[in-house]
C-alpha cells in the first residue's frame, strides 16, 4: 500500500514537471504556426528590414525595422543608465555598506521590484514626461529617453540583486590577499573582486536587459508610440512589445496584420531567448 502511494505521488510530480515543458512547447508551436503564416505575403528580409509599418493600409506594409530600432534604442538607453548605477549599488551593498544600511537598501530594492509596471508607467507619464519635455526643449516628452529612464528602474532590482550575489560569492581570500598587499578597499573591489565576479555581473546585466526588452506596459505609456525610424533618443518610438499590445485587439483574426503581430512575437521570443541563454552561459561559466 505504501509503495503504491509512493508510486502515485512520484507519477503526479512527474506529470506536473512535464506539464510546464509541454505548455512552453505548445505556446511556441502556436506562435510559430500563426506567425510564420505572414511570410506567405512578405519575405523575411522585407519583414525584418522594411522601413514602414503600416499594417492596415492597402496594400499593407509590414516592415518592423522601426519597431526593432525602437526596442533597441529604449533598451540600450535603459542599460546605459541602469548598469553603472546597478553595479555600483551592488558593490556598495556587498562590500562597503554597514549592516544596517545594507538591510535598508536591500529591502528598498525588493520594493522597487514589487512596483507594478503600469504604476511606474503612470508615474513616469505625469512626472518624467513633462520633465524631459522641459529640460530638453522637445515638442513632446513622450520619447525613447523617457522610456529608457523608466525601464532603468525596472532593470535595477535584477541587476543589483544578482550582481550583489556574484560579488558576495567571490572567495573572501581574494579580498584579504589584495588588502594584505596594501591595496585600498576600493582597489581591492575594482581590480580583484569585480573581475572575479565579472561573469555573474554580466549575467545580471543580461537578465536585466531581458526584463527591459520584454516590458510592455510602461513603454507603451511613455514612449509616444510612433512607429517611425528614430533619429535620436529624444524622439517618440514604438517598441515590439507595445506594438503587439496596442494592435492585437483591433487586428482581424486571420488577417495579414494578425499574422504579422504573431511574427513580431516570434522576433521578441528569439531575442529574449538569446539573451537568457547568454546570461545562463555566463552564470555557468562562474561555476
Amino acid at each position: 500500500m505504501r509503495k503504491f502511494k509512493e508510486f502515485i505521488i512520484e507519477k503526479l510530480i512527474l506529470i506536473c514537471g512535464l506539464a510546464s515543458i509541454f505548455f512552453v512547447i505548445l505556446i511556441f508551436l502556436f506562435l510559430l504556426k500563426e506567425g510564420l503564416a505572414v511570410f506567405k505575403s512578405v519575405n523575411l528580409l522585407k519583414f525584418l528590414f522594411g522601413k514602414n509599418w503600416y499594417p492596415i493600409s492597402e496594400p499593407a506594409q509590414l516592415g518592423i525595422l522601426p519597431l526593432i530600432l525602437g526596442s533597441l534604442l529604449v533598451t540600450i538607453g535603459a542599460a546605459v543608465i541602469s548598469v553603472p548605477i546597478g553595479v555600483a549599488c551592488a558593490m556598495y551593498i556587498a562590500e562597503v555598506a554597514p549592516i544596517k544600511i545594507k538591510e535598508v537598501l536591500k529591502a528598498g530594492i525588493e520594493l522597487l521590484a514589487a512596483i507594478p509596471s503600469v504604476v511606474l508607467g503612470f508615474i513616469g507619464m505625469v512626472t518624467l514626461v513633462p520633465w524631459v519635455k522641459a529640460v530638453f526643449k522637445v515638442p513632446t516628452g513622450l520619447t525613447a529617453l523617457s522610456g529608457s529612464i523608466m525601464l532603468a528602474f525596472m532593470a535595477m532590482p535584477t541587476i543589483v540583486s544578482i550582481s550583489e550575489d556574484a560579488l558576495y560569492s567571490v572567495p573572501k581570500s581574494y579580498k584579504e590577499g589584495a588588502l594584505a598587499l596594501g591595496a585600498t578597499r576600493w582597489q581591492a573591489i575594482w581590480h580583484v573582486m569585480l573581475p572575479a565576479a565579472s561573469s555573474g555581473i554580466l549575467a545580471a546585466v543580461m537578465l536585466g536587459i531581458g526584463r527591459v526588452i520584454g516590458e510592455t506596459m510602461a513603454v507603451m505609456m511613455i514612449t509616444g508610440n510612433s512607429a517611425v525610424i528614430p533619429h535620436s533618443i529624444l524622439e517618440p518610438v514604438r517598441t515590439l512589445t507595445a506594438t503587439i499590445a496596442a494592435e492585437m485587439g483591433e487586428a482581424v483574426v486571420g488577417s495579414e496584420h494578425y499574422f504579422a503581430l504573431f511574427a513580431v512575437g516570434i522576433v521578441l521570443f528569439v531575442i529574449s531567448f538569446a539573451i537568457n541563454v547568454t546570461a545562463d552561459l555566463f552564470l555557468h561559466k562562474k561555476k
Binding site: Y174, E176, G177, A178, L179, A180, L181, H191
Partner: protein
C-alpha cells in the same frame, strides 16, 4: 629588533585571545610560532599587518613596534604598513587574473613602477621564487590553473614585487605535499638573506627544520620564546616540553 611587542593584548568581543605578549623578532631570521590550534598564533601574526582590523569587535592594547614605530597607533598608514609587511596565507590565494597581472597588482596599486619596469619586476619576482623557468612562457595564463605549490610561490612573488621587508607566513605549506613543502622551505632559507620571515605552523618538524628562533604559544599566552634549537632540545617551561614531546596538540 625589527618587531617588538610590548604587553600586547587582544580581545575578540569578550574572548581574550592574546594575553600580554612580549617578544622581539630579529631581522633576516626565520621565526616560527608554534602551538596547538586555537592558541592565538595566527591572531598574533595578523596583528603585525593589522589584518585583524577586518574583523568586527576586535580590541587591541599594548604596543607593537616595527622599526621603532608603533603600528597600533590609529594614525598608522595601513597601506604603507601592509606594503612593508607582506602576508602569505594558508590557502594559496592568487587572484583570478593572469600570472603577470598577479605580480604587477601590488606595484600598480602602489605606483611603484612604469610599464617597462613592470616586466622586470615580474621576472625578478618569479626568479626569486624559482618559478621563472617554469612560467616564463605562461605569463598570460590564468594563475588559477597553476599547481598548489606554484600558486603559493606566486603569492610569495607578489610580496617580493612590492618590496616587502617582512614576510608573514600563515601555515604556508599546510595544503602542500611533502616534496612541495620541502621546496618551499628551501625557498624560505634563501629568502631570509633579504627578508625577515615569521611563520606560523603547527607542524613542529617544520619549525625545527626551518626556523632560527621559535615561540611556543598556548591559550593566548607566549609561553616561551628563544633559539629554535634551545626550545626543541632544552625547553625551560614544562608545557613547552609536553607539547614538543607530543603529549598534547
Amino acid at each position: 629588533m625589527v618587531i617588538t611587542t610590548k604587553n600586547l593584548n587582544l580581545w575578540y568581543g569578550a574572548f581574550h585571545a592574546l594575553k600580554n605578549i612580549n617578544s622581539g623578532i630579529e631581522a633576516n631570521r626565520i621565526t616560527a610560532i608554534i602551538g596547538p590550534s586555537g592558541c592565538g598564533k595566527s591572531t598574533l601574526l595578523r596583528v603585525f599587518n593589522r589584518m585583524n582590523d577586518l574583523i568586527e569587535g576586535v580590541r587591541i592594547d599594548g604596543e607593537v613596534l616595527i622599526n621603532d614605530i608603533n603600528i597600533l597607533d590609529s594614525r598608522t598608514d595601513l597601506v604603507g604598513l601592509r606594503k612593508k609587511v607582506g602576508m602569505v596565507f594558508q590557502r594559496p590565494n592568487p587572484f583570478p587574473l593572469s600570472v603577470y597581472e598577479n605580480i604587477v597588482f601590488g606595484p600598480k596599486v602602489h605606483n611603484l613602477a612604469n610599464k617597462y619596469e613592470l616586466d622586470e619586476i615580474v621576472e625578478h619576482g618569479l626568479r626569486s621564487v624559482l618559478l621563472w623557468d617554469e612560467l616564463k612562457d605562461k605569463l598570460k595564463k590564468p594563475a588559477l590553473g597553476l599547481s598548489l605549490e606554484q600558486k603559493q610561490r606566486l603569492c610569495i612573488a607578489r610580496l617580493i614585487a612590492v618590496k616587502s621587508d617582512i614576510l608573514l607566513m600563515d601555515e604556508p605549506c599546510s595544503t602542500l605535499d611533502p616534496q612541495a613543502t620541502q621546496r618551499i622551505e628551501e625557498l624560505m632559507r634563501e629568502l631570509k638573506n633579504n627578508y625577515t620571515i615569521i611563520i606560523v605552523t603547527h607542524n613542529m618538524q617544520q619549525a625545527a627544520r626551518v626556523s632560527d628562533e621559535a615561540g611556543f604559544m598556548l591559550l593566548g599566552e607566549l609561553i616561551e620564546f628563544g633559539q629554535t634549537q634551545q626550545i626543541f632540545t632544552t625547553p625551560k617551561d614544562k608545557r613547552t616540553e609536553d607539547y614538543i614531546t607530543g603529549r598534547y596538540g
